[in-house]
Amino acid sequence: MSERSERSMRSIDGVYDVTIVGAGVVGTAIARALSRYELDIAVVDAAHDVGEGTSKANTAILHTGFDAKPGTLESRLVSRGYTLLGEYAERTGIPMERTGALLVAWTDEELANLPSLREKAEQNGYDACEIIDADAVYATLPHLGPGALGGLTVPGETIICPWTPSIAYATEAVDNGAALLLGREVTGVTVGDDATVVHTSRGDITARWLINAAGLGADVLDCALGFDRFTVTPRRGELLVFDKLARPLVDKIVLPVPSKLGKGVLVSPTVYGNVMLGPTAEDLHDKTATGTSENGFAFLHEKGERLMPTLFEEEVTTAYAGLRAAIDHGDYLIEPDPEQRYLLVGGIRSTGLTASMAIAEYVEGLLSDAGVELRRRSSLADPPQMPNIGEARPRPYERDEVIRRDPAYGELVCFCERVSFGEVRDALCATVPAVDRSGVSRRTRATNGRCQGFYCGAAVDATIEEMVR
């Protein structure tokens, strides 16, 4: 697929108009936005799939931005992105559930803080928060541990699939002609008078403009362009995902009162019907340290037992760790350098999923201001229809008419998650295809369930091997 689009879409002189480094949720959102104009776009990433870095281990919440720092670019883009991605998810079928959140105060100090949080939400343009007393908290969340003193409702907070957005954006970009150049590690950059050459492990890519959406690697690439303005610190967040049988315990996002270190540990339903606990927040040096840790588990165990004592009576389905790109800067860092035809999109923290489409819109504006001509394509691809891997709408295995049209959707390969052979096949043949088991998992949920492959792992791997070959 990518080979084909590379060949057919590269401009005559072999020079792209824009190269985006980073195929995470931000890079692909920018690619989608720019692909709707008469521009030759390339997206390059070291990984073999989109959304492979910080994007894949996100806490999976579409944030209203109620607790952002008022007046920041982040506040503005999260708020705008909330609307844009919410609408896009409806159109494309990205799994999403408007569950709402409840921020719970456990100490007098936290309780006293609630009015100022509501005020802050209003400053951020979000005025639906309400302060409720302990009785109302327990009426909403009967399984919450003892000791809650009150809460702040955030009815707009929404759970969303963290994986489908990058895939949807990339699919739409490719449908509009963008080249998705994966498996190419960027090794260096040479800025020329008219064009910039991005050196990669599999050849050079030349483009007039360079957009740095490299996430954890954004600071290194920025240095290569001659800047020294920020450092990315990988902040590890570990998460536990509980069995679907735990889902009746919690049907809202349960948030702690935020502290300086971040948003703290939350309990949340997931769009796949599980319950999630996390994340931890631990600053590291190693940008590849996505392992889980004993301390992380112990911390989550302690927090979780207090938040929801019956949660640990349920089985843990999986545990994972993700790295957020924390930077030494209080806001998103999105700055153009028209001299070098270079645009940095850095410091995009865990809010980046929510803000992604607004970041892309903002980038469009900056490029236009810098003189890039943005002319709409005469014929635009429709936004893609993404496979439904969420529980809010019927899945293929539940749909008689779908199975009767193609029996492959009735042939279940992953029993725990009820994933059919048809869905695995589709993931491997998609416009932006899965190339390995984790890619299949993120597109279909296969092997993500409580048995973690006891029944289906070997069959899924065999299918991948057969179809990729």
């Binding site: 049988l245 009735g410 048995c451 973690q452 029944y455």
Partner: protein, 414 residues
């Protein structure tokens, strides 16, 4: 809309217990018996355990898992039960009917009686909360055997087996066959003689290092497993065992999703449905057999349990019994679980006339005491040891003397 099938009895799960139940029901004159099996072939876990040791107690044979599975399937089909493979019962429509998904479409099956025989699975690494990286080469025995025996896939060269149950040896045999050295077996139990299963090692002509009294604290490796870190439970010392493959064995949990989603009461210790000696759950018309009841016993014993539950189903179809009642049977802290969890004298005695239990620690000369309320019903010394890692059986007649409405019955071990 979905089409509907009606049948007398539907058996959910086509492993040893489900197939045996279906065979027995047909042989005893039930007209329509339907087995629903989600895998492509019926036969259950023995299908991919391609080594000898099956069929000992139920068939008086010593055969391989796949041969055993095929015989069970043939027998069930010959008895006239219908087996729907590639068909998964996903949820309940009401108390007597379920939704099915298969390549045929979405169907509903409704029945007079339902036998749940969904078996058990091993807890994967994540459910055991073992931290570290997430490299390739981490399996459960189930995935390993599927990979090797059904898909002929490769595993690594040097494996560490986590666990010390019967199934751990089954994993070792599969590794050996796949050309992977079972280098070490890590178990938290103290000494190799603490469970008779290790005697099997001698017969198998290989002997992994037995790393007893240890637990796994971390999985290491970036893309592929490079080792596991283990901790000596006595000293707290840690070291790394080099390997490119880790198999998490045993630590079974019943596949109880259908039972729970029906709102049928579970036994907190087994995490399977609470049943009496006949296999009746608390829900009238719903029965359970095999390893979904308690994790985990060998295939032959699961099969005998399936045959046994057929009697209760027949009595129910004949209109003579309701759901399980009776008093609770509970184990003291020595037991991980005891089964059956309900004693209803009208249920008769269980398959093989034994209470089945799982102990936490080795007791070489076990003395079992049965109490009800303040009174001691039985004290008895058993001539076989109580070994962790396998089922410990206690003769049913230790319960002689309990009274039907005398409250909870407790088992003590010393």
């Amino acid at each position: 809309m979905s089409s509907e099938r009606r049948t007398d009895v539907v058996v959910i799960g086509g492993g040893p217990s489900g197939l045996s139940a279906a065979t027995a029901l047909r042989r005893q004159g039930v007209d329509r018996v339907l087995v629903v099996e989600r895998e492509r072939e019926a036969g259950g876990i023995p299908r991919h355990s391609d080594h000898l040791g099956y069929g000992i107690r139920d068939r008086r044979r010593f055969i391989s898992g796949p041969v055993y599975a095929r015989r069970l399937v043939t027998e069930t089909a010959d008895a006239g039960a219908e087996i729907l493979t590639g068909t998964m019962a996903t949820s309940w429509r009401d108390e007597r009917s379920l939704y099915l998904t298969s390549p045929r479409g979405r169907e509903i099956v409704s029945a007079e009686a339902i036998v749940v025989a969904t078996g058990a699975r091993e807890r994967p690494r994540s459910a055991r909360m073992i931290p570290g990286s997430r490299p390739a080469g981490v399996y459960t025995t189930g995935e390993l055997q599927n990979r090797v025996h059904l898909h002929h896939g490769a595993v690594g060269k040097r494996a560490v087996i986590v666990g010390g149950e019967l199934v751990s040896w089954s994993a070792a045999m599969t590794l050996k066959e796949a050309g992977c050295v079972p280098a070490a077996m890590v178990t938290h139990y103290d000494s190799p003689e603490s469970y008779g299963v290790f005697n099997l090692g001698g017969r198998l002509l290989f002997r992994p290092d037995l790393v007893t009294g240890h637990r796994v604290t971390q999985v290491l490796g970036r893309r592929r497993v490079e080792g596991v870190e283990v901790e000596d439970l006595a000293t707290g010392d840690r070291r790394v065992l080099d390997c490119d493959t880790v198999v998490f064995t045993g630590d079974w949990i019943p596949d109880h999703e259908l039972v729970r989603s029906a709102g049928i009461e579970l036994a907190p210790d087994t995490k399977g449905p609470l049943v009496d000696a006949a296999g009746r759950t608390r829900r009238e018309g719903v029965f359970a057999a095999g390893n979904v009841v308690h994790p985990v016993d060998t295939a032959d014993i699961a099969a005998l349990g399936g045959t046994h539950v057929a009697d209760a189903v027949l009595r129910y179809l004949g209109g003579t019994t309701a759901g399980a009642g009776g008093v609770r049977l509970l184990g003291d802290a020595s037991f991980r679980w005891v089964s059956p969890g309900l004693i209803d004298l009208s249920a008769g005695i269980p398959a093989r006339g034994r209470i089945e239990t799982w102990v936490n620690d080795l007791v070489r000369v076990p003395r079992v005491t049965v109490t009800q309320g303040d009174s001691v019903v039985t004290r008895r010394r058993l001539p076989w040891p109580a070994s962790p890692g396998r089922v410990f059986r206690i003769p049913w007649d230790v319960l002689n003397g309990i009274v039907p409405n005398g409250g909870d019955v407790r088992l003590h071990l010393s």
